[in-house]
Symmetry: C2
C-alpha cells in the first residue's frame, strides 16, 4: 500500500480513455493501445500540411469503406472525439514521414506542429471486432494473440490528388453461419469499415496466397470456413505512402488515438 | 371498347390483391400467382384439423427461419392479411392430402371445410426476391424464367409432435458483393425467411450435388459466384408429408394466397 504512490499506474482495459491519453501525454505509455480502455473507440491518425488536406479529405470521402472519417481538425483539440485531447501528445507513438520515407518514431510531435496542420482520425476495426466478440463470434487472430492478416487487393481506390493505390483488406476466417452474422453485425458500424467487401475466393480480389499476407500475421482458414474480407485502415496509409508527400505524421502501428466514444455509439441502428 | 365487358379481365402485376383473390374465387384464375399484384406479399397455405394445429404451430415457432408465420386462423377469414379473404376459395388451386398422399387438386375447398379447421399462412421468398431485385440484384432463376433450386439438407428441424424432417433451402448464385448486400437486405425481412442460413460449400449442409436440386430447377453457379442458401417454405410442406396426417390441405405449388400486405410492410427496419 505504502509503495503504491511511487509507481505510475499503467492503463488497462477498464481505464478511462482520458487516463490512457494522459498516460501517453506524460510519457508513461509508449506501447500499443490494443485492449486499453476497451469500451472505447480507437482511431488511426494522419496529420498533413493544409496544402494536402483537401485532397486527402476528398480521398477519404470517395473511399468511405477503407477510410471512414471519425474526425477532422485544424487544431490539436478534437472535442467531438474526447475531453481535452491534444493530438500532438495523446498517442503513445507517432511516425514522421518525409518524402514518403519514415524518418522518426517520436512519442510527442509538438515540435513538428504548425498552424497549417490538419489531423484526420479514421475508424479502425477494433470497434467492429469488439461487437463481433460481444455476440460470441470467435476471432482466430485474437484467440491466437496475432495481428489480423491484411492484403493488398486488385481493387483500386478512387484517387484524389496525389492519393491513390489499392484497397487493403483485413481477413477473418469464419464458418458460414458466423460470416452471415458478421455481415449483419458489422453493417451496423459504417464508421468503422462497415460490412465486409468480399467473402470467399481470394483470387477474385487479386490475392494470390492467403498464407502470405502483405501486413500482419497469417492465420489458417479451416476447410469448413470462408475467408471474410473487410476494407482496412491500412488503405489510407498505403495511399499516403504512394503520394510521397514532403511531410506527414501518422500513428505508429498499434499506437492509436483512444477516444471517449463508446463503441456502441457508432452503431447506425 | 364495346367488347371489353364481355371478357373477364385476367389479373396482372398491377392488379390489387383483392382482384387476384376475387378472380380465384370466381374461378377465372386457376394458375400460378407468380408476378400477380406484384407489390403484395404472397403466402404458403397449410390447413389442418385442430387436433394437429397446436403441434404444427409449435413446429413453426421452433423453426422460424423456414416456417415464418404470417397468420393463423380458425375461421375462413384472415382480416389481418387482407380484406374479405375466404381462405377456402381465394387461392387458385389447392392440394388435398389424406394419410400423407395427394388425393385431389381442387380450385375450391369449401366442401372440405369444417369448424375444426385451422389455417396457417407462411411467408414466402417472393417478398425478399422483390426486395433484392428492387436493389438491382439479378436473380438468375428469375432471369431464366425457372423455378428456384431447392435442396433437402442435413440440417434437422426441431421436431414438434408428428412434424419433423430436414430443413429445405433455396439457392441463389450471387457474386460476393451481391451476397453481402443480399444478407443485409434479407435480414430486414424475418417474416419471409430472413438472412441466408448458409453461403458457400454445399457439402457442409449435406447437399451432394448443386446440379441436382430436390425441388425446382437447377441453375448454374458461375466460377466467380457463391451459392447462397435461404431457409425455404418447402420445409413445412416436407414436415407435413413426413407427419402423414389423416387429412390436410395446402396450396398447390406456385398457387399462393395473395395478401393485402405490401412487401415493405414486412421490413423489420
Amino acid at each position: 500500500m505504502s509503495n503504491r504512490q511511487s509507481f505510475v499506474e499503467q492503463p488497462g482495459a477498464a481505464s478511462s480513455a482520458l487516463a490512457v491519453r494522459q498516460a501517453c501525454r506524460s510519457g508513461s505509455l509508449a506501447a500499443h493501445t490494443s485492449g486499453l480502455a476497451s469500451a472505447h473507440v480507437q482511431g488511426n491518425l494522419v496529420i498533413l500540411p493544409k496544402a494536402y488536406a483537401a485532397d486527402f479529405l476528398r480521398f477519404c470521402q470517395a473511399n468511405p469503406k477503407p477510410c471512414p472519417l471519425l474526425g477532422v481538425s485544424g487544431d490539436p483539440a478534437l472535442p467531438a472525439l474526447g475531453e481535452d485531447i491534444d493530438i500532438r501528445t495523446d498517442l503513445p507513438r507517432y511516425r514522421v514521414w518525409r518524402n514518403g520515407e519514415l524518418v522518426d518514431e517520436p512519442t510527442d510531435v509538438r515540435a513538428l506542429w504548425g498552424d497549417d496542420m490538419v489531423s484526420f482520425v479514421i475508424g479502425c476495426s477494433f470497434t467492429f471486432e469488439h461487437a463481433l466478440m460481444a455476440e460470441g463470434i470467435v476471432l482466430r487472430h485474437v484467440e491466437q494473440g496475432r495481428n489480423v492478416a491484411m492484403y493488398r487487393t486488385s481493387v483500386a481506390t478512387t484517387p484524389a490528388g496525389a492519393f491513390h493505390g489499392p484497397m487493403v483488406v483485413s481477413m477473418r476466417p469464419l464458418r458460414a453461419a458466423d460470416a452471415i452474422r458478421a455481415v449483419q453485425i458489422t453493417s451496423r458500424f459504417p464508421a468503422v469499415h462497415g460490412a465486409p467487401v468480399h467473402i470467399g475466393d481470394p483470387a477474385l480480389i487479386g490475392i494470390r496466397s492467403i498464407a502470405d499476407p502483405d501486413y500482419g500475421d497469417a492465420v489458417e482458414v479451416m476447410p469448413d470456413e470462408l475467408p471474410v474480407f473487410w476494407a482496412c485502415g491500412v488503405t489510407p496509409q498505403a495511399a499516403l505512402a504512394a503520394a510521397r508527400l514532403p511531410f506527414a505524421i501518422t500513428h505508429a502501428p498499434g499506437s492509436m488515438l483512444v477516444t471517449d466514444l463508446l463503441h456502441h455509439r457508432l452503431a447506425a441502428f
